[in-house]
Each structure stands twice: as structure tokens, then as C-alpha cells.
Symmetry: C2
Subunit: 244 residues, 2 copies
């Protein structure tokens, strides 16, 4: 499977990860041409099934920098990127694999947030600078830090890929706390239908937050760690080739 | 004067620069305790009098991280900061002094923009991340890059300190071009009174930009490089100690 992932990587870098389910690492490899860069399974989905995720889909203007173009510019122009890739990422990569193996959410969450911010920092350090986070993304970041501060430990962790959408990880035992807080301020956003029967158990939060922030979010997706690709007869497009 | 600046620095870091006029460098010094960190004059104001600046005061929520507290957190928590301070800044500092001595606006502008973005990148890399730039700041950054791209060279350069306000530098010979563009999209903002008689010479731009961006800016200040502190009998406060 890791061998097939080398082929998938040529189409879209992150596609190489999608051949596996569970917890997947995308290894950089050693070769200059990247041909040995591949995905490996760190742990299967049932190793840590209690990991959940809430995705806050942030409304934004059309993304003006596609990831591949953006990363090429960052590699070529950011001074800080060189340090990130040589010194910061390799150590964090090993720490992250261990955190997943140990099911240590505090370490996992700390590394997840730090690495998201470090990635966006080197994007900003590019010429011209690349911005994926917007003001709504920043508000969500602050909200999660407030929650963790109140709890005295990391119970939720955000990450952002090449866009303004937040993925908030948490463990099932903290679901009522984490979703309670998110629901309090984003209840007007669609996507809560899946947990209608659970909502009465949500824990109310006294954390103060911008009550208009929900206007910057178009949808919530409540999900978890999934299995690998499944064979299916279903299609996302109709017989005219248009989205169903 | 540089000796006095060591005392000023203890009150507020950047205050040490304000004892001079013209182009001033704030040297880091070598000592661990910072006691030899001081300001020096790179060039007097009449060395490069054609340097102008337009400050776009960006409306924002109350700043939630004062600079000193923010920098202490960045020093303590950002991995990228260590690299910035050891490798990126010292070289850029020498290049910048030379650019000023040579009156080389292209190099000056390139370094100014890169260093602003690098500073905000390490703020974002802090735990918790510090955000000074908001969506309006980002729009101004993109606008200046569009202008430089159209001109095929750097005719304007932005910088942001610990807040969302943009300082846009340009040379007087490009004033009609730079202010023409800014005026086109920010004419509704107060601060243009000073250049009323010049406005007919502003060059109209065909750069497309968000026509609502002016709503995020409260004032424009048109200024240039100033002389050092002046002795005065005027006071900013009245005889009750309140602002006049």
C-alpha cells in the first residue's frame, strides 16, 4: 500500500495518505527527487477510536493560492521555512507518531496546534505572503485556547490546512464539553442534525466569545477517524456528469 | 545620544530610537542582559528626504496582546523565533543599513516587507499564537503587492508593528502613483485634507480591489521621515492633566 501511495503522491501530495484508514503519516523521504516519499499507517482506526473531530467550514472569498503553488513559493522564498523543515518538523513528526501510539491526547493536541501555526507562519513569511487563516479562523483558535486554559489541560486541538476551515479534535469523553462550547456559539450553523439527541447532555460554558462569529461559518461537520477507501457502486455525479 | 538611548530603552524598547531623527537603527548588542542594546543614527533626515509614508490606521477590537508581553511569549515558545533572531535578522539588519546609505528603495522596500511578515510569522508561531494583522491588514498587503507587480518594481512597501495599522513607504517621485491608488479605494477615510491641492495629479489605477475595504480603516496619516525630538512649550494635556 505504501508503494501505491508513491504513485498517488504524484497527483496530489496529500492524496497519498488517503489509501489508508486510521492514523497515517506521510513520510518526507530522503531522496532529492521525492520519489521515496510515501504514506505509512501509524495505527489502525481501532487503536484510538475515541478520537473525534468537529470541522467548522469557514466562509471565505475564493482561495487565491492553491496549495501546490503556495508551497512552491514558500519553499523558494521563506527563510523560516528552511528551519521549519530541517529542525522543527522532523522532531515533531516522531513526537506525533509516539503520541498516537500512546493515545496521549495532550501531546497530540499540543503538537497539532503548534504545527498548524508553524505551517501558517511560514506561509506568511513567503514572498508575497500567503494567508489561509482569516479573522473567523483566528477567533476559533482563541476560543479553543480559552477552553483549554479553563480546563487546565488540552481537551481540544485545532488544525487548519491550506484554507480557513478549522478541524477541532477532541476525545469522546470530552464531547459534551467541547461540543457544548461550540454549539453555544455556532448553533445557528447547519450540521447539528446528527447529534440532536445528544444535545441535552452538552455542558454549558461560561467562556465569553464573539456572538457574531457564527456568521463566518457556513457548516459544521461532526466526524471521527475513518476507515480507508471503500469500494462502492454509488456515484457523486449523475448520468449527465453533474453533481447529484 | 546613543548612551542616553540605553536608558530610554529600559522604559520602552522602541523609545530608544526616538531620541534621533532621520534613519535610526536599534542595535541588539552582545550582552546577555541587553545593557549594551542602543540606538544609532544610520543617516540624518536630509540624507534621503524624499522618503514618504502613508499610515492606514486600521480599525480593530482592543489589542489583546501588548507588545512586551507578546514578545516575551514569542521568545519563550516559538521555535521559528530562535532562527529568525540568530540567522535572519542580523543579515537583514546590515542589508537594511546599506540600503538606506545607498538610498536604494527597491532593496529597502523588499527588506521592509519581508521583515514585517517574518515578525508576524513568529508571533503566529507562539503558544498561544499572537495575531496582530487582521483581514483589512491582509487586504492592504495584497494591494501593495499588486501595485509593485504592475509596476515591475517595488514602488511601495508596507510594514506593520504590533497591531493592524499599515505604514506604506514610497518615494516622492512615485507619490501620485501610490497615493493615487490608495486614494481610489480609501477616499472616504479622513486624512486627505493635507493633499487636497495635489489630488488632481493623482494617477488613476486599474488595479481591482475590494471596494468595501475602506470600512476597516479609520484614518489616513500622510507623513515622512521626521527630525529628532524638538524642545517645545506646547503640551498635549491641559492644566487638569487631561488630553487637550
Amino acid at each position: 500500500m505504501s508503494e501505491i501511495s508513491k504513485i498517488a503522491r504524484k497527483g496530489s501530495g496529500s492524496a497519498c495518505r488517503s489509501l489508508f484508514g486510521g492514523y497515517v503519516a506521510w513520510e518526507m523521504g530522503d531522496k532529492e527527487d521525492g520519489l521515496d516519499s510515501k504514506a505509512v499507517e501509524v495505527a489502525p482506526v481501532d487503536h484510538w477510536p475515541l478520537m473525534k473531530a468537529a470541522i467548522l467550514v469557514v466562509s471565505d472569498d475564493k482561495k487565491d493560492t492553491p496549495l501546490t503553488t503556495g508551497m512552491q513559493s514558500t519553499v523558494a522564498t521563506s527563510d523560516l521555512f528552511q528551519y521549519r523543515i530541517k529542525e522543527v518538523v522532523p522532531k515533531r513528526f516522531e513526537d506525533m507518531k509516539k503520541a498516537i501510539q500512546d493515545r496521549d491526547f495532550e501531546v497530540f493536541g499540543d503538537l497539532t496546534m503548534k504545527d498548524s501555526n508553524s505551517f501558517h507562519a511560514v506561509c506568511l513569511d513567503s514572498v508575497p505572503p500567503i494567508f489561509y487563516l482569516n479573522d473567523t479562523s483566528k477567533k476559533i483558535i482563541k476560543l479553543i485556547h480559552k477552553l483549554n486554559e479553563q480546563e487546565g489541560k488540552i481537551v481540544a486541538a485545532y488544525t487548519f490546512d491550506a484554507g480557513p476551515n478549522a478541524v477541532v479534535y477532541y476525545e469522546e469523553q470530552n464531547e459534551n464539553k467541547v461540543l457544548g462550547l461550540i454549539h453555544k456559539y455556532f448553533s445557528k450553523v447547519p450540521g447539528w442534525e446528527k447529534v440532536t439527541e445528544k444535545k441535552s447532555q452538552f455542558i454549558d460554558s461560561n467562556i465569553e466569545f464573539d456572538t457574531d462569529a457564527y456568521k463566518g461559518v457556513s457548516r459544521i461537520i461532526l466526524t471521527g477517524i475513518g476507515p480507508g477507501p471503500q469500494s462502492t457502486d454509488q456515484s457523486l455525479v449523475n448520468d449527465k456528469g453533474l453533481p447529484k
